[in-house]
Amino acid sequence: MTIIAKKPASLTDLPMHYCPGCGHGIVHRLMGEAIDELNIADRVIGVAPVGCAVFADSYFACDMVQGAHGRGPAIATGIKRSKPEAIVFSYQGDGDLASIGMAEIVHAAVRSENITVIFINNAIYGMTGGQMAPTTLVGQVATTAPKGRDPKLQGWPINMCEMLSQITGAKYLERVAVDSPQNVMKAKKAIKKAFENQVKGVGFSMVEVLSQCPTNWYASVPQALEFVRTKMMPQYPLGVFKDEGGK
């Protein structure tokens, strides 16, 4: 018997607490595969966020630190500067990274901290129950935008990859999605590259993942995938925004 595909060794056996159909689990697995393939498991130290992935520290088999909301890049900076040989990642959601932690992510990029950031954009606050996120789409209903996001009142969604691409210190920025096997394969490549960059000492690398949240979008799983494709992708186009890995 040959195994074609199974749970990566750098993830623990613990069943995950995420809602059915949620994208977090897929991204965890892709990160686990990247860590396994790069053979860096004994060097990885991860930072878990506050939000739905607050228990991520129990899913990754590497050493993990659980930090305060939005401060992942600052914590990762402290770890990386103290242990430069470690491979440090910060795993963050959209409220975490693009709202309360905006200063931390921008300045980690400005300093070009040699860390890997995985940014889950599902256009909503998940853990707290579906409030409006900085990435919530215009017209999208949230519990704090009951009539849908109105730009006159709540402004427009923020595009992090585009914004960070203006910063010299940001070396690799790519936006991917996990709505189909094809896109999952592309996401895998991007995540692996973001880790590989750190091994090579390239500098600040971030992968933004458009991820489905059926629960807080009040959608079935197929409807959620459709939302990613027809609503999110026009606002958040997939692709590479910066790649200075080889330079």
Partner: protein, 387 residues
Amino acid sequence: MTEKTLRKGNEALAEGAIRAGARFFAGYPITPQNEVPEYMSAHMADAGGAFVQAESELAAINMVYGAASTGTRSMTSSSSPGISLKQEGITYLASADLPCLIVNVMRGGPGLGSISGAQGDYFQATRGGGNGDYHVIVLAPNSVEELGNFPKLGFELAEKYRMPCMILADGILGQMMESMSFHFDPIDPNTLGKFDWAVDIHKNGRKKNNVFSYKGDNLIADVVERAKRYGLIEKTEARWEERDAEGCDVLLVAYGLSSRACLEAVNRAKEEGLKVGLFRPITLWPFPSKRLAELASKAKAVLTVEQSLGQLVQDVKLAINGKTPVYLNAYPSGGQPDGHTILTAVRSILNGGKEGLFDLQEHAAGFTYACKRDTSLGIQGDLKGGK
């Protein structure tokens, strides 16, 4: 022990911290502590450590959280408004049981306040400061020499009990120059050994380490375990200094810079034939309550001298528990104590006067508060105090 040299308080502290094995520093500019990050930026790299000028105090304390997770001797410094910003990180550090050093070179407050020295952050430091049930160990130096030597003590206590330790200094102490010496040889952190809880590179397939704030399963048990540790600290780690404290009539209680002014008062009192002693808490948490209560029981009165609006006096009253009268000589928000005024307060106590003694009720008498808004909430027109 090094030879005596003339050093500025903040620089002595920074050099003392590097000598004590600090190898990570993150901070943000704020007066009157700027010499600390400036010194670190110039010397930390040479010592093999890392200095980061953070984008904010919030980021700085969280960088310390990350560095402390790896078991590295890590620290930050700031001044009052900046320490308020750091409270999020401090409560996380306490909940994750991480040792680190936090320095507060206090300035006048509240809010932006002033840049002159003050002691208004006593409550914030000794009561935790952030959310939840926790403490940090608080050391209060009163000289440049102690500023330079306390980082070593601070790291050792923080690591022994796995909790943050704060050095609570003030603007004047940070800015003044004094002759001082270091009482220890520089420590090579590589000789300190590794913590079994720290996150690190691990080649031997050891069990994974997690540094958690919220452990998820039993928060009550965690808090109770921490409380037991706090109890042990209160029992064993209280530190203080006494001057003529046995058998005095009036016992002065003061920490930090205020205690220096008290020393002057003690000496002047002696010349006048008055029996005045000084009790100086060195650890503000744990507060040396037991010894203070013993000494106070033999005195006629206790006078608390502080550069704040009656904060230290509350711990003094708790310790003495009503057995001896406690008076307050206060210099809030940047006011500076002097021996002459303190001695005036002592005489007032002994002669039944009021000069130099701070009493909020007394101050309120004769105070007029103009309230222009006419409301139906019971506050109408001008509130006129006084008799």
